[in-house]
């Protein structure tokens, strides 16, 4: 907002003009911000900024956000997904991926922000139901040590913001072939020594990550019809991680996700 300049100059020796005086006091239709009417909507340009203290700034002016988490088991079975989809095609996987409770969060942002950041962390077990072998090397192969080429891409995670897929946040979890329930198979019970240390066999893993959407990359995903869904705009925004899997079961053990915006 520019400084007050007054629309009219009062000159000595001229006939008094009440309108000109009044316009200097209040002239909303005149030159922008020229009259004392500005007092009704003062902004930072009217302030001696060096003297601003944090008490003057309303909470949420710089930063808005929320977080959530979950610790109960959340299981995703391959039967819950459509029958015909190709796990090795990212777009296919993203299309059928299901949101994970504890990895979804909505929050209202009151302000236009410079960036929106999503952070997450979760623990997950991938279970394909196979009892580990008892051969010498099998003991170490409770899960696949390699991705196995395209054939190994059976479980993928996808970030969605406001329902829009953030294509730079698609990734796959290395597959597992083992089962969590090694003693429950009812046959060929392995020697306990063969499955020690157990940590090598239960396919538990932890994932952490973050992604920033800012003015530089927001138009990559939020353009055209989706421009109004930009997480930088005021409104209710949602971040969610979705999982797609062709494995027997994917179990999320713990999770958290946060979404925040910065002025």
């Amino acid at each position: 907002m520019p400084d007050i300049t007054y629309p009219n100059t009062l000159t000595a020796g001229t006939t008094t003009d009440a309108d000109k005086v009044a316009e200097n006091l209040f002239y909303a239709e005149g030159p922008a911000d020229a009259s004392l009417e500005v007092i009704n909507r003062l902004t930072k340009t009217n302030l001696a900024t060096a003297l601003i203290t944090r008490e003057m700034v309303r909470p949420g002016a710089f930063f808005e956000g929320a977080t959530t988490g979950h610790t109960a088991n959340r299981d995703f079975f391959k039967q819950m997904y459509p029958a015909n989809w190709d796990a090795d095609y990212v777009d296919d996987a993203a299309a059928v991926a299901a949101p994970v409770a504890g990895l979804c969060k909505s929050e209202r942002f009151d302000n236009t922000n410079s960036l929106c950041c999503v952070s997450w962390g979760f623990g997950v077990i991938i279970d394909d139901g196979n009892l580990i072998g008892t051969g010498t090397n099998d003991k170490a192969y409770g899960f696949k040590t390699t991705g196995g080429g395209t054939a190994g891409n059976k479980t993928s995670v996808h970030l969605f913001v406001n329902g829009v897929q953030i294509t730079r946040c698609n990734w796959y979890l290395r597959q597992s072939d083992t089962t969590m329930a090694q003693f429950d198979k009812g046959f060929n019970r392995p020697d306990p020594e063969d499955i020690a240390p157990i940590a090598y066999h239960q396919d538990s893993r932890w994932e952490f990550g973050a992604f920033i959407i800012d003015a530089e990359n927001v138009t990559t995903w939020f353009t055209g019809d989706t421009a109004s869904l930009s997480p930088l705009l005021p409104g209710i925004h949602t971040a969610e991680l979705r999982v797609a899997s062709k494995k027997r079961m994917v179990r999320f053990k713990s999770s958290n996700i946060s979404i925040f915006g910065m002025r």
Partner: protein, 282 residues
């Protein structure tokens, strides 16, 4: 507060005395003292952006706060980066706080020092997809704006070398008891870290960010790390910063002297990302 001179009853209105009073008001409003602002009187419309992003007068990162692999779509093919270098390991040696390595921007950042070899900055062929963020100002001082950098990096592990970790009698790992009933404990690890390049062009990996991930027991999907970079970190170089980057390496982790640098220690990664939140904290 300014001294206002109100009109008294009977004063004649003139251009001069009207103007002088208006001028007093204008001057005062145009430079309101801070005490004029009520508690919580300023909201997001009054305060400047905090992130020094696009459109800001001081734009720290012209390409945004995020860098890494391009979008993953369509059929999943080969991994983007194959890291077969081995991070040198010297039994008994202590890592240094700031590891240095060379500035070869081609295929491998290696041979920079005892602990520096083997680091690699993930990158596809396109330089734009490097796991690296470059400051708009080539030699930037964080204390210029009282900034700290919250840096987070993650790498999707696509493939690791075939694990022959326990009870593998085909390889002599140097253990005293190398039989099928006595497990060996060598493990293939993927290593991730965060570093910065000084304004003088020297690269440093922050030791506190270096994270070894047992690819069989723990990290089977993603390796991640994070840190907070302050001006004091930059003193190891010339006090300025030009880039922030993520690095990966591969190595076997085992009690000395099991490590066999000649063994297969391939680490393939696919997607990767690094992001920075420059936050004013001072």
């Amino acid at each position: 507060m300014p001294t206002f001179d109100p009109f008294d009853e009977g004063d004649a209105l003139t251009a001069a005395n009207l103007t002088s009073r208006l001028t007093v008001m204008r001057t005062w409003v145009n430079a309101l003292p801070a005490r004029s602002v009520q508690r919580w009187g300023l909201d997001a419309q009054h305060v400047p952006p905090q992130t020094y992003g696009k459109g800001h007068a001081t734009e720290l990162f012209p390409n945004g706060f995020q860098a890494g692999s391009p979008a993953l779509g369509g059929p999943v093919g080969a991994p983007f980066t194959v890291c077969t270098n081995s991070l040198p390991y010297t039994a008994g040696a202590q890592p240094v706080t700031y590891q240095t390595f060379d500035t070869d921007g081609g295929t491998s950042y290696g041979a920079g020092g005892v602990h520096g070899g083997g680091w690699r900055i993930p990158s596809q062929a396109a330089a734009a997809s490097k796991m690296e963020l470059t400051f708009d100002t080539p030699a930037f001082r964080l204390d210029t704006y009282g900034l700290g950098l919250l840096v987070r990096a993650r790498v999707e592990v696509y493939n690791a070398s075939a694990g022959f970790l326990m009870n593998d009698t085909s390889v002599d790992w140097g253990c005293s008891s190398n039989t099928a009933s006595n497990a060996q404990i060598a493990a293939h690890c993927g290593i991730i870290g965060i570093g910065f390049e000084s304004g003088a062009g020297t690269r440093y990996v922050l030791e506190r960010t270096v994270r070894w991930n047992n690819l069989l027991g723990v990290a089977r999907g993603t390796m991640s790390t994070s840190t907070w970079i302050r001006q004091t970190d930059l003193s190891v170089g010339n006090g300025t910063i030009a880039k922030v980057f993520g690095v990966v390496a591969s190595q076997w982790w085992a009690p000395s002297p099991i490590v066999d640098p000649a063994s297969d220690n391939e680490l393939d990664i696919r997607t990767y990302a690094i992001n920075i939140l420059p936050i004013r904290y001072a």
